[in-house]
């Protein structure tokens, strides 16, 4: 056989070829790839809903979709994107693949639990696909009561069950990451020598463990009320609709940090490598991650400023909302200053990462506007909010996800993607994104509410602009699908460390062997020991590279 094929046999990809060697694998790297497949499928399911929505909204009279269908589509878009794409994307694909390698371990602490998590995800995905195909749900991904419990005509219980099971998958993965980080670090890998990606995934996992059970109980109560006709949130039976909102947002606000902190971890890895210098303020970055997670549990009321909560509680929630923005601002400053006295290479991963910094900053600042009590009275439940969270989730998290995919592509597959296409797609995605979502800030300020299938005719220009941007964005997403797929067959073979990075994952073969390392690494260096004067670096196992 050829040397290339012989080499592949030694790696986790070539070890065994049978279907059951994949479906029953304990290898975190194979499980990561399987998650990648599942998550990508749902990205396109959610994305097709978005495509239909933007096509429909080109026309203020809205003739493409019936109102019922439109309402079910935006609900499906939210549910699928939040729970079946954004939350698992970076942790379950990149996190699963990289965490053991970054800390010098051979696998996660509980490999079988990891596999079980993937199966749980797919079961929840099947339930989701089931309720989508039999007609969907129109409550919005937020399931507000009493509409969802007493008035909605769709498959609310099935949707609640799908998200409930999905939550178990999240908890299993998170538990694995936390335990692994505590217990399986290689000798010399102290907490403050951990790469920021590990910190980010660790902190995210803590949030997942503490917040997801509350969502599970909240949705269980909604399903029970709907199934058995007992009034937990029904005002005519003494229930309080606002109690649902408090319980739901107690989870859902930390959930947005679940979606963005891993992205921040990826960005830290990429910026430092492509700027060839250590990240500015490593400990500050760690502290910022932890602060965001902790404070993020106490700001949920800012989704309810106009809902009728007490004025005192509104003031407290607004204050805490401003406080939680401070560590995010610190991170943005630190990334920016990491570009000073650097030696910057603008490869595709770096372009995506810089795109993250820009778009996340805009999204975060508009979050301040929403956190300002008086402003929120006007902007709550308008397209301003839609634009705000898309800037963070899509401009932010999805950009970072693509940054990570491109950065670690050679490590995962052993192949190079075509760099020129990578850069082109990154720029296209950035431009398409801005054209899609910037007009929505204007629409929001002009008073267009969310979840409207029809709107006043004088708002058409902005809607058309947004939809035009969406078509560019769609190309930006499809291109990587094409050239990354192409690279699997025709891409140039990659060495162990093509980016010349310091992490432990780069000090082993691309793709890695089954147990990651031939010998357990001994860690003697903090991460990111790059020298901008000549681009040389010291990897974390202490070896100096010119």
């Amino acid at each position: 056989m050829s040397t290339a094929a012989a080499d592949l046999l030694q790696t986790y990809l070539g070890e065994e070829h049978t279907i059951s060697s994949w479906l029953l694998t304990h290898d975190h790297k194979r499980i990561a790839l399987m998650f990648f497949g599942s998550v990508t499928l749902f990205f396109f399911v959610g994305g097709s809903a978005a495509t239909l929505i933007r096509l429909h909204l080109v026309n203020p009279a809205g003739t493409l979709l019936q109102p019922e269908m439109y309402n079910r589509l935006f609900t499906m878009h939210g549910i699928v994107m939040v729970w079946f794409f954004l939350i698992p994307s970076i942790p379950a694909t990149l996190g699963n693949f990289l965490i053991p390698m970054m800390i010098g371990a051979r696998d996660l602490a509980f490999p079988r639990l990891n596999l079980f998590s993937w199966y749980l995800f797919n079961v929840s995905g099947l339930v989701a696909l089931y309720f989508l195909f039999v007609g969907g749900v129109d409550t919005g991904w937020t399931f507000y009561t009493p509409y969802s419990t007493l008035f909605a005509n769709g498959h609310v219980i099935a949707a609640a069950v799908a998200v409930f099971i999905n939550g178990f998958s999240t908890i299993a993965t998170a538990l694995n990451f936390v335990v692994t980080t505590h217990k399986l670090r290689a000798p010399g890998m102290t907490w403050f020598r951990l790469p920021l990606f590990v910190w980010a995934i660790y902190v995210t996992s803590i949030i997942m463990l503490l917040a997801t059970p509350v969502l599970a109980m909240t949705l269980a109560l909604v399903a029970i009320e709907r199934l058995m006709g007992i009034g937990i949130f029904d005002p005519s039976l003494g229930g309080d609709p606002l109690l649902f909102q408090h319980m739901f947002w107690f989870y859902s606000h930390p959930a947005v940090y679940i979606m963005v902190l891993p992205a921040m971890g990826v960005v830290s890895e990429v910026i430092t490598c492509f700027a060839r210098r250590p990240v500015f303020g490593y400990k500050g970055m760690c502290f910022a991650l932890v602060s965001i997670a902790v404070i993020g549990f106490f700001v949920w009321g800012h989704h309810m400023f106009t809902a009728g909560i007490s004025l005192l509680s509104a003031v407290v929630f607004s204050m805490l909302t401003f406080i939680v923005a401070v560590p995010s601002a610190i991170k943005v400053f630190n990334w920016t200053v990491t570009l000073h006295n650097a030696r910057i290479h603008f490869d595709a991963p770096m372009l995506y990462a810089l795109g993250f910094v820009g778009l996340f900053t805009i999204g975060g600042l508009t979050g301040l506007v929403l956190g300002t009590l008086a402003s929120d009275i006007h902007l709550q439940d308008t397209y301003f909010v839609v634009a705000h969270f898309h800037f963070i989730m899509v401009g932010g998290t999805v950009s970072a996800y693509f940054a990570g995919l491109h950065y670690w592509w050679s490590k995962i597959t052993g192949k190079h993607y075509p760099e020129t296409w990578g850069r082109f797609a990154a720029i296209l995605m950035f431009v398409g994104f801005i054209v899609t979502f910037a007009p929505q800030f204007i629409l929001g300020y002009l008073g267009m509410p969310r979840r409207y299938y029809t709107y006043p005719a004088d708002l058409q220009t902005w809607n058309v602009l947004s939809s035009a941007g969406a078509s560019i964005l769609a190309v930006g997403y499809l291109l990587p699908l094409c050239y990354l797929g192409w690279s699997l067959f025709y891409g140039r073979k990659a060495g162990p460390n093509p980016w010349r990075a310091t992490g432990l994952e780069w000090q082993t073969s691309s793709p890695p062997i089954g147990h990651n390392f031939l010998r357990t690494p001994q860690v003697t260096e903090p991460p990111y020991q790059y020298d901008p004067r000549d681009g040389s670096y010291i990897s974390q196992d202490g070896i100096r590279h010119a």
Binding site: P146, A275, V337, R343, G371, A374, I377, H378, Q380, D381
Partner: protein, 314 residues
């Protein structure tokens, strides 16, 4: 504002001016921050690209001064924004010290029903006088809605099972959009209407033009008798029940020691869940009317009880 900024929405109320001022300040600050951050990124990106000959130095990690510096600046700026926003929010959401007019709005799938104290009714339309402080009582017949008037920059959720209130003062005549901004079902996007601000004289004419015989308070009095409330709360009753004259707006002393203001929420709870509002010194014998009264009935009763109180409202 909207005259010279191409896509600025119209400003028709005091609240709009307040919120616009805060927002313009915020957008200016945001623009400054973006110029600062993006400027740095672009400058560094160009200066320190790997092809540039600029000399780099060894990285000396002395970050704490910078970190503390920009963290403090950030906290200071945020604190100012927070205080301005909270201050305005309290002003806009707290009950006004003095009101000129009270309107009653019932939201239901998928229309708005507006009632004026004189009994005039509108659907998906709200006529209000210019310059008056208008207080609105909100009720929902089914799910959560949200009354949103973009030209006033105001909204408030309408939650079933409780009365919500907010107030506004219109400063410009004209017709403005009224929308529902909390998803409430299939025709949520059609739950829209028009707010018409008229000069006081025109408004008074409009009121009489509606040709309504009975005010809300009169309708409320009819319900008061029909449901037997006067049997206990009326003047000739021998049941020991609290008098309702002057009740609205006063302080009520409850059996568990609490003292609460008798506002619309209190009145509603007394009617629907009297067991939670037992008044000190009275036997807990009031029956509940849960399920017997529609939202409009409750509003009429509220209007009647309000009419029994003289003087400024809470």
């Amino acid at each position: 504002m909207h005259e010279w900024v191409p896509f600025w929405p119209r400003n028709a109320a005091l609240s709009a001016s307040i919120i616009d001022t805060i927002n313009i300040g915020e957008f200016a600050l945001i623009a400054l921050i973006l110029v600062f951050v993006f400027g740095m990124m672009i400058t560094f990106g160009v200066r320190y690209r790997h092809g540039s000959a600029r000399p780099r130095t060894a990285v000396a990690e002395r970050s704490w001064r910078f970190e503390i510096g920009w963290t403090s600046a950030t906290i200071a700026a945020f604190f100012v924004l927070f205080v301005l926003g909270a201050n305005a929010y309290l002003f806009l959401y707290e009950a006004p010290r003095h009101q000129d007019l009270e309107l009653y709005v019932v939201g239901k799938q998928w229309m708005w029903k507006i009632e004026h104290p004189g009994g005039q009714r509108e659907i998906d339309a709200m006529h209000v006088p210019l310059g008056s402080t208008v207080r609105v009582v909100l009720a929902s017949e089914d799910v959560i809605h949200s009354l949103f008037i973009p030209a006033f920059r105001l909204k408030h959720d309408v939650v079933p099972g409780q009365f919500e209130t907010f107030w506004f003062r219109a400063t410009r005549t004209g017709s403005y959009q009224l929308e529902c901004s909390e998803f409430c079902g299939t025709q949520h996007a059609h739950m829209r209407g028009t707010v018409t601000v008229m000069r006081p004289a025109a408004y008074a004419r409009w009121l009489t033009d509606q040709g309504v015989a009975e005010s809300l308070a009169q309708r409320g009095f009819a319900l008061f008798r029909k449901y037997g409330c006067s049997g206990c709360h009326g003047t000739g009753s021998d049941v020991h029940a609290p008098s309702l004259a002057g009740l609205y707006g006063s302080i009520a002393h409850l059996a568990d020691g609490r003292a609460v203001r008798a506002d619309e929420r209190y009145i509603r709870d007394c009617i629907l869940i009297p067991q939670t509002q037992r008044v000190a010194g009275y036997p807990p014998v009031m029956p509940s009317f849960q399920g017997q009264l529609s939202e409009e009935d409750l509003i009429n009763l509220l209007a009647y009880i309000q009419s029994l109180s003289e003087g400024p409202r809470p």
